[in-house]
Amino acid sequence: MSSAKPKVVHSWLAKAPTGIQGLDEVTGGGLPKGRVTLVCGSAGCGKSLFAMEFLVHGAMRYGEPGVCMDFEETEAKLRANVASLGFDLRELTKRKKLLVDFVSVERNQIAETGEYNLDGLFIRLAYAVKAIKAKRVVLDSIEALFSGLVDSTILRAELRRLFHWLEEHKLTAVVTGEAGEQTLTRHGLEEYVADCVIALDHRVTEQISTRRLRIVKYRGTSHGTDEYPFLIDHEGISVVPITSLELAHKASSDRVSTGIPSLDEMMEGKGFFRGSSVLVSGSSGTGKSSLAASFTRAACARGEVCLYFAFEESPSQILRNMRSVSINLEPWVKKGLLHFHAMRPTSIGLEAHLAVVHKLIEKFRPNVVVIDPITNLVSATGTHSVKSMLMRLVDFLKVEQITSMFTNLTFSGDPQERTAAAVSSLMDTWIVLRDSKPNGRPRRELYVLKSRGMAHSREPRELIVSERGMELGKVLTDHTLGTPVAGPSGAKVSG
């Protein structure tokens, strides 16, 4: 699977891979090798975990043992961070993969009586590096020195000397810093770090937590406001590497069945284009999920892997509901071709949900993805960043040639107006479902509002859902959907 192209590629620079999912992609290989990277953020933003992942993966995956100088006296926390990555600190220490030196800087013990320097720290660091032949170093959090030592002039000079020492010894270092009010870090550490500065942000608004990673500086180049949402879960940190929209994706001419033969017929007899995005909108109960399920079933029957993200109903509910209309998805789940993932409304923000979607796509490498529904993600109350994340996700799916289907709940009224224009413009195919009651008899209607690149039928048809499954009935002439755009049938429609 090709990865999204990072914004700036420094192929001539050596990089130290972090092993943090998504981060190595966006940095074009990792952190600058043999240089100091500053990771800053407020308490709880994940900087210590970031630093430990960098060390642990460095030792276990890339053959680079690492030293951690921990200034915060948080042995329990450090042990827990390492454990959360699936390793035991004691084990790693015994195997000389990791060495932690807990540095205590207690202010009330120290009285400054004349000139001094921080050679003690240098000696400890050098000793630790030599002991395990370390290639990576973490200083977490160096700002503890500021609270412990009064003379900031000496301290600043020594920090400069320390960073220089690290570079001289060709060690790739991650230094953590506490976020400041006006400045990036409380004590302006970013002034000493020329090569790479990463800011982690963790915001909780109305009980929804959102995490973002921003590359403030990379090798002197400003990345501006390049922000990536990230997750912290039981496997560590996952960064979602989707950023600017790259509209240069190959368009496939392969076709995939919609799962409903009569619907395939409306689309040149062949169905959707592979890798295209399909929006299915309609009011409650009009058959959106059933359509998504038919599509999914057809894909699995072709041997393709499907990922079904359920935002509202539980997977078992969906399975049961689909069984009642003769769409049996369970065998595919058992065969491992269909993976359901329930997205429960939780305290993690919508961006985090999208990050999970991205992560699972990377894990399962599906051919088909269904998100049912995306209503919350496109609603008027959704933030701009959620909407832009969704747009980027859709774009990412196209680049990966994953055929995607999104259902959207609309309220009675003109569906075109209810669905945000920005989202619908990303969709190659837009199917609208509607309930109506002409002459008092209720019926369901389906029409293909648009489908790029093909001569699709524009005639509304009746949608019949029964125990026999889903099929399209006759063309409706008494529909109330408004006049479809007149045009000779068979004319190719683009855009």
């Binding site: 120290i110 400054e112 009586t113 004349g114 000139e115 320097n117």
Partner: protein
């Protein structure tokens, strides 16, 4: 017992040793024993007393532990820092 940590015989460290000897003679009348630890020779000893600055003077007994950093040129600060009783 007073332990002075140095890192090689730099001007600061030499000054600290000299200052300490003077303070011990003048104010303490030899009541305290001085031990000099050179971390360049024995780096593993830095961890125990949590040494980061050089020079650092550590008074371990009687507790609580007192740590003083600097070349000890400010005599008064040293006395106060060590919480020493002037010898009678």
């Amino acid at each position: 017992m007073l332990r002075l940590y140095i890192a090689g015989h730099t001007p600061n460290s030499i000054a600290a040793i000299a200052n300490l000897k003077k303070i011990c003679e003048d104010k303490l009348h030899g009541k305290y024993r001085i031990e000099v630890v050179d971390l360049l020779k024995k780096p593993q000893l830095a961890k125990g007393d949590q040494i980061i600055a050089i020079p650092t003077l550590v008074r371990r007994l009687p507790p609580p532990v007192k740590k003083i950093i600097g070349n000890l040129s400010k005599t008064d600060s040293v006395i106060v820092g060590l919480d020493l009783q002037p010898a009678r």
